[in-house]
């Protein structure tokens, strides 16, 4: 038995090595970098070495880490990287700035008739496509007719079904006539897909746009390289000597590449990764509020969600502040069970108070509803971003009120596959940020909405949503949206615990970077490089 004596020593040694290793990892950050919560305003410093670059005045190649692109036809693009590439090769007619305001792009000016049915646009002069041909109003007509052609099957067909006709008058003027007034028509024209192609383009994947960058090399699954368009119609733009989108499938790998200097820009960073970059002085961090949110929804058309008391109990058992703190770490905003977030400052309302978390009241409601032995539910969630974390945190919060949740994490393709997400009783779904809120009401909450995942059907709500979506009276719309928020807080079968922020990290040598809430729509034309 003497030989046992050797043992404790060995174990202690293992522990000491282990603890030393750990301490090395948990060193607190010494000099946190400044987080800029609004788009940066750094001055432009042109590198003294710019003479070696192809064009004086342009310098630096910005390497962006993003997921691989699959679609290159602007009418078919959807992911951030696809939109980022396309929106730098092509131009929009009108664009949306980081504060969700409509700004001119190829359209320099526009007039709207008093009945809200006719939109007339004046177009920019001296614009040429990458192949040298001039840009005219005919290209605009052709592009939008292509996007709204019902035979095309494009995702924009529905969006533009309200257009009666599009006509060119002269080379630099184009007129859109609508069937019904649409207060959001300019936003619809700035849709991700609405990039202007050359009239009669036979192969829309060939990157022949009017945009600030020209594709010089595209290696699918590796990278796409772009060079500046020397004939771009806005003088001095772009300011970069090159743009590369390098494809990554993994966010952690993107951040590692950014730290290692292999890439310069990473957008749509998960909060933990973003927080982890604070200690790096060579990286500038940007975080802007967006209207991206996760919705926890219970089907309202069958048991148990068809009992309003169950919906109330779930809402009462949820602590939105804690979820915001745990999952979002304070970036973004606390949700109020409605998709109209504080980003829409004109429409967002905090008039109707959200009842504070009250586990006892929730329990009592469940007893009243006939669930005195507790309510058992399966909570489905896609495995993307921090939705599994939200599910696990909810499980803990709801358990206190006698709601027992089985978490089922599914790959995104399974969760959305065969429309399974519209079938399940209880699920978590992520919704992206949009420049205006009507979209969410129309596709997710009105009775016959295409993706009415909660199967919510409320005549009062539907009436308000319809008026808000068609009236040309802004005050009326603001009033309707306030009522809509009240209804959703009182009886909507949805919980919106938080709105996330859009985070980005960029090498500090690049300045004038203006992050967009939808990262793919971030405009890199003004980004400049300084060697300092």
């Amino acid at each position: 038995m003497q030989k046992y004596n050797r043992q404790p020593g060995v174990l202690v040694a293992i522990w000491i090595i282990f603890i030393l290793l750990l301490q090395a990892c948990s060193q607190p950050a010494t000099q946190p970098a400044q987080v800029q919560t609004s788009p940066g305003t750094g001055s432009t410093v042109i590198s003294t070495e710019s003479a070696v670059h192809p064009s004086p005045g342009r310098s630096g190649t910005l390497r962006v880490a993003m997921q691989p692109i699959v679609q290159t036809d602007p009418a078919q693009i959807s992911s951030d990287s696809e939109v980022l590439v396309a929106s730098h090769v092509y131009d929009y007619l009108v664009d949306v700035d980081p504060t969700s305001k409509i700004v001119p792009r190829l359209a320099k000016s526009w007039q709207i008739s008093t009945d809200g049915l006719t939109y007339t646009f004046g177009l920019a002069e001296g614009v040429v496509f990458h192949d040298g041909s001039p840009f005219t109003a005919k290209d605009v007509v052709w592009t939008f007719n292509r996007l709204r052609d019902p035979a095309s099957g494009f995702p924009t067909v529905d969006l533009y079904s309200n257009i009666e006709s599009i006509a060119a008058s002269g080379d630099l003027q184009v007129t859109f006539k609508l069937k019904q007034p649409n207060p959001f028509f300019l936003y619809d024209l700035s849709d991700n897909h609405a990039l202007i192609l050359k009239e009669g383009t036979t192969d829309p994947t060939k990157f022949n746009g009017t945009g600030p960058f020209i594709v010089s090399n595209y290696s699918p699954e590796d990278r796409i390289e772009l060079k500046p368009n020397e004939n771009y119609w806005i003088k001095d733009e772009p300011r970069l000597a090159g743009l590369q989108v390098i494809f990554f499938n993994d966010d952690t790998a993107m951040v590692a590449a950014l730290r290692g200097g292999q890439v310069d820009l990473v957008m749509r960073l998960a909060t933990p990764l973003f927080e982890g970059l604070k200690s790096d002085n060579n990286i500038s961090l940007f975080s802007i509020p967006s209207n991206k949110f996760d919705v926890v929804r219970l089907r309202a058309d069958r048991a148990p969600g068809n009992d309003p008391r169950v919906i109330q109990a779930l809402k009462l058992a949820t602590d939105r502040d804690v979820l915001f703190k745990l999952i979002q770490q304070g970036y973004g905003a606390v949700g109020r069970d409605s998709p109209i977030g504080p980003m829409y400052s004109a429409y967002y309302s905090d008039q109707t108070p959200i009842p504070a978390r009250d586990v006892t009241a929730a329990k009592n409601l469940l007893v009243e509803a006939g669930y005195s032995n507790g309510l058992n539910l399966t909570l489905y969630t896609p495995d993307t971003e921090n939705r599994p974390d939200l599910a696990v945190a909810l499980k803990d919060q709801w358990a206190a009120a006698g709601i027992n949740v089985d978490v089922k994490v599914e790959p995104e393709s399974v969760y959305y596959g065969d429309n399974g997400w519209l079938e399940v009783n209880l699920g978590i779904t992520g919704w992206g940020s949009r420049p205006y809120p009507q979209f969410y009401l129309d596709v997710m909450l009105v009775c016959d909405a295409k993706w009415n995942e909660s199967h919510f059907c409320d005549p009062e709500f539907d009436k308000l949503a319809k008026t808000a979506g068609t009236t040309l009276d802004e005050d009326e719309r603001i009033k309707d949206y306030q009522e809509i928020q009240r209804i959703l807080i009182e009886r909507g079968p949805i919980i919106v615990p938080y709105f996330s922020a859009t985070n980005a990290a960029i090498n500090h040598q690049f300045t004038d970077f203006h992050l967009n809430p939808f990262p793919g729509r971030t405009d890199l034309r003004t980004v400049s490089f300084s060697n300092g």
């Binding site: 050797r6 174990l11 290793l21 948990s26 998960a270 927080e275 982890g276 745990l326 599994p388 974390d389």
Partner: protein, 274 residues
């Protein structure tokens, strides 16, 4: 048994191995008494804390005590891997013994089938099976059994082949002993050492497999304190809460190293001239 025990402890490497395995088995059995918190207890105010006297291994992004989760996860992984290995060894041994002893077409069919299983990498086979079975604790158990049974059967087969034609087997056959008697009383004891080593090795691989499947999100579902799943969950937070990743990863490493050292000790013990 005492001889085996002291034999193993006379080698430092196997002593470490056995000690590690014993510690983890104790932790697995007594986990709920040791763990200061329950596995999904979330203390929002304590979220993302580094190791401290209050939370020995720190807390994760949801404010859960990592020490408690690692301790409580030991039972999950060891019981799953252990039960899976036991079943695989039992079934594999039975098939290996019978098929090899009977030989002929039965042996041919069984072994060719197993060979085709072995041609597929273990993890790939596991992924294919889980794709069909759906992810749950029971599916993982079935996967371990299906993946490791052919390997055990193969090892038993080679051991049986080497003793099948030995004198004592032939003597038993001449005595007119039943087939079961010959298999269990004559052949099995002589393949037992090889089998024990193989079982220990399979156990360490099974731990790895369970952890890998958890990491890929195909095994048990959250919020189970499965070590692989904990690593998956902590991976995205690694820059903020590295401790939530390193402790479960360290636990997997220690237990796998421990089992391997112990298996190696067993092998050396039986191979030693004494």
């Amino acid at each position: 048994m005492g001889k085996l025990w002291c034999g193993l402890y006379s080698r430092p490497a196997s002593a470490i191995g056995i000690s590690l395995v014993l510690i983890f088995v104790l932790v697995a059995l007594l986990g709920s008494f040791i763990a200061p918190y329950s596995s999904n207890e979330q203390i929002a105010a304590d979220a993302r804390q580094p190791p401290s006297p209050q939370h020995w291994f720190g807390t994760d992004n949801l404010g859960r005590d990592v020490f408690s989760r690692v301790i409580l996860g030991a039972w999950d992984i060891l019981s799953l891997a252990g039960l899976g290995t036991l079943l695989a060894v039992f079934i594999g041994t039975a098939i290996g013994l019978v098929s090899t002893y009977r030989s002929g077409w039965l042996d041919e069919i069984t072994m060719r089938t197993f060979d085709s299983f072995l041609a597929i990498p273990a993890l790939l086979l596991a992924l294919m099976l889980l794709g069909t079975l759906g992810s749950s604790r029971n599916s993982v158990l079935i996967v371990i059994v299906i993946v490791y049974t052919p390997i055990v059967a193969r090892v038993v087969r080679s051991a049986v082949l080497s003793v099948k034609s030995r004198g004592f087997v032939e003597a038993a056959q001449l005595r007119g002993e039943s087939q079961t008697f010959i298999l269990v009383r004559e052949i099995l004891p002589s393949v037992l050492p090889a089998l024990a080593v193989e079982a220990a090795l399979r156990f360490s691989y099974a731990i790895f497999l369970v952890a890998s499947l958890g990491f890929l999100g195909l095994g048990v579902q959250p919020p189970s304190p499965d070590w692989g799943l904990m690593i998956k969950e902590a991976r995205v937070n690694v820059t903020q809460t590295p401790w939530a990743l390193y402790f479960p990863a360290g636990a997997i490493a220690l237990v796998v190293v421990g089992v391997n050292l112990a298996a190696d000790g067993l092998k050396r013990h039986w191979q030693s001239p004494e």
